[in-house]
């Protein structure tokens, strides 16, 4: 008996190893198990919606609508629980990867469950509001899945085996060198260098982070100013210009890093708050239905 369990466990370990080797992510977890379950569920709903003839017509108030609505509301609460689950370390069943895989695919199936629950009756009311919020949450999640699948490679390429702090440290080093190299310069020339030193590499709002464009970059401005200036000694100026170019490159790498990270993270700022807005609207939707029964 004991050997039986042992064998089973060793087989499970072996499977796990294969998965590790293939670097099986949450999308292809267990050979797309949750994608299949979710797809089957959607197909079942679409087909049965067409086949079942409810009285008087399809909407949230038919028995079919009630069923889909109940499934959908339960699913929304369960999907929200990912936020709780990921903060909780467990070692037994339901690995976080499995949970995330189910979260993604069942969340996508909610498009069908929720929309078919409405019976395609939409209007300007709390019921449609809940549907719209649900769709926004799902779309933001879909965006998240896409960027998680595509952007990490770009992030890694840009990093060039540097850590974040190493990128910052490089800028600090150029700043120090700039500071000493700029000492012989005239006050007109030191002003732009000083501005470049004063520039916060993390400055800029969400727009700059997402676009990666910093039109008022002091380092670039200093580079332009010093290239055209004739006031200081040429040799000292050339040295400063060289350092500024190097700093600019380091800054660009950091900024690209920040941009990719922003693109990777920004959907959560929609996904999470709107999830809670959705749960509130969903509560209002359900209570309103029974209140004005």
């Amino acid at each position: 008996m004991a050997s039986l369990f042992k064998r089973r466990r060793s087989k499970a370990t072996q499977t796990e190893r294969v998965r590790e080797r293939r670097h099986e992510g949450f999308l292809r977890y267990a050979n797309f198990r949750w994608a299949k379950i979710s797809g089957g569920l959607c197909l079942l709903i679409i087909v049965s919606y067409a086949l079942i003839d409810v009285t008087p017509r399809h909407n949230g108030g038919s028995w079919y609508g009630y069923t889909l609505g109940t499934i959908g509301a339960g699913l929304i609460l369960w999907l929200t629980a990912l936020g709780y689950r990921k903060r909780k370390m467990t070692s037994d069943y339901w690995s976080l990867k499995a949970w995330t895989s189910a979260h993604v695919y069942l969340g996508l199936s909610l498009v069908v469950i929720g929309t078919w629950h409405t019976g395609f009756q939409l209007g300007w009311n709390v019921h449609t509001l809940a549907w719209v919020l649900m769709m926004l949450v799902i779309l933001s999640g879909l965006y998240g899945v896409i960027v998680y699948a595509t952007l990490p490679a770009a992030l890694s390429n840009n990093r060039d085996e540097m850590t974040q702090m190493q990128m910052l440290e490089a800028i600090r080093a150029f700043d120090r060198q700039l500071h000493s190299a700029a000492q012989p310069l005239t006050p007109e020339d030191t002003a732009p260098v000083l501005a470049a030193l004063d520039e916060d590499p993390f400055a800029g709002g969400i727009g700059a982070r997402l676009s990666g464009r910093y039109p008022r970059c002091a380092t670039s401005a200093a580079l332009v100013a010093l290239s055209t200036s004739r006031s200081s000694e040429a040799e000292a100026r050339e040295k400063v210009i060289g350092l500024l170019k190097q700093k600019e490159a380091a800054l660009a790498r950091l900024r690209q890093h920040l941009r990719i990270r922003a693109l990777l993270e920004v959907w959560l700022y929609v996904h999470v708050p709107l999830t809670f807005a959705l749960i509130a609207a969903l509560s209002a939707h359900i209570i309103s239905v029974f209140f004005y029964w």
């Binding site: 108030g61 028995w63 120090r176 000492q183 920040l258 708050p273 809670f276 309103s288 029974f290 029964w293």
Partner: protein, 645 residues
Amino acid sequence: MSFILRRISTTKTGKQIVRDQALPGDAITLGREGSNIIHIADLAVNPHHATITSADGRHVRVQASEGLGFYINGRTVDAADIDSAAGAELRFGGHRLTIAREDEMIILLVERIDELSQSSKDVDEAKAFSLAGVMPGKRLGAWTFAILMLLAFLVGPIWAWQSFRNVDERPEGYHADKAWMSGPLSSAHASLKNDCQSCHVEPFVAVTDKACVGCHTGEHKAMSMAHANAPTAMLLAARHPPGVGERILAGFAKTFNKPQGRCVECHTEHEGAGPMLATPQKFCADCHDGMSARLLKAGFKPAVADAADFGTIHPEFRPMVRPAPGAKPIRAVTGKGALTDFDGLKFPHDLHLQATGGVARMAASFRGRYDFGKKLECENCHRPEADGVRIKPVQMERDCAMCHSLAFETVGGVTRTLRHGEPDQVVADLTAYYRSTPPSRPLQLGGMERRRPGDYAQGQVYNIYFREVAVRPNRAEDAVRAVFSKGGACYDCHTVYAPQAGNGWTVQAVDQTSRFLTKGWFDHDAHKETKCADCHTMATGSKVATDLLIPGLRQCRDCHVGENGARLVKVETATESPCAMCHEYHSDGGKPWMPARQRKVNSAAITNKPLRAIYGVSLVTGSPGRGLYDVTWRTPALHGAERGG
């Protein structure tokens, strides 16, 4: 020798080492350039920034030299006089110059206080490199949005309901519970769009019938007559066994207190603006589909056949017919050959509808005088009621007399006619006519010519005339007999009974049925585009008036299919027909409710315009206004028929 420059350096262990250095001269220069006595490697400091002097070894004067000043006590100045005993802190760029006095000496302490550059500042890696530094927190957003949603769409609506719960009509303006409206109200209830409380009276209580009859005081006092009289057990037995879905629905209804059988179950609201939808056929078919078997099983005798969908399962029509002359109307039994209905008239439809022949030629000869074409059409004799729904009973003066004239004499340009509908009067009129008028005089009897004897002999002119005069009153009886007998004016159309003991000539009463299909509602007006013969297919071939020419299910199914388009035969232009298109549940005599958009749009084909010569006919046949010819409609045989089925 009164200035001492003090430098403080910090070891790795955090220990501070203070080194003092006496500065030469009374004027100490300070700047970025190496030639200065105090050299500050700070790009924010000018090459020759300031000069520090002291006249008395105690008071210090600091004078900026190249335009850039320095900070003292938060202000930028170009020069400052400082008592070194009191001390002061000055800022040059990122450096601080502290002036103090120790042992009669002026101590100048220079320290870098600002970071070399912004990037050199300490950062929180987790925050700086993520979006957390530039976005408000997710938790904050979650709470804000959730609370806003609850306020706007839960608290607000409940507040609105609470504020107006016993109000008949709310004031204009926005009411928060309108956000709960699942769809626009139908046009009949559009005025209630602000007044949720008029139907949703109590919270968590499904809309009650009481809320409906609060306004609808006149209508639908009872359920349908057919259903109201049925025992409850029978009604329950008629229902089809619930499927999975209906059990789910019933479960919801039971759990959340939603009773069944309320007005709103058929009359669904919030289904979109425009007229309220007709009741879907499912509400009927739930019971009537396969009902007879269920009723038989439960020990009841089914009175109606199964009906599930007009296109596929619907019993053949059973029109009201008179099986024998003068008999009471009964519901026809279908499937036993052609149906007959004795209305008391003789009327060969085929003869009248022929394209050629005597009737057609006569009609053609009347073109211009009446609205006849080259031949007679159905609508020349059958005219719709004012509302267009049914066809008026045929009226002799209006519908037959154009051709079938009863005129028998012209007096001074006025035609005298026999009185239709009064056989005794006809007899009297004819008798009086023959008594009061002499035979027409032969021409030979006129003039002043002398007549010779012998003319009175038999066969002569005089004899012809005077013998006629002598026997003329007796001719009346012959004329009367002729009128009522074969070939006579009455006999052609009516069943005439010869005089019996104590009775004169009698004509069988005519019974025209105003509505053959009493359980359903057929609207001729809605079928204006269709030719009569398209449905009344047997009319052109009918030789006797007893043929029932009411169309059967087959003809209807040429166009009408089930609610969802189900059909058994090929249909070119399908009209989807739920039960409620023809059947009225509440039996209150009205038209079944069906919004106009669900009916077909028609263009006028049969019109009810008055005939051009109708008044002319009235002149000929006498005014019909005496009510002599008003047809007495049959009393409906069934209780429910009176109320429309």
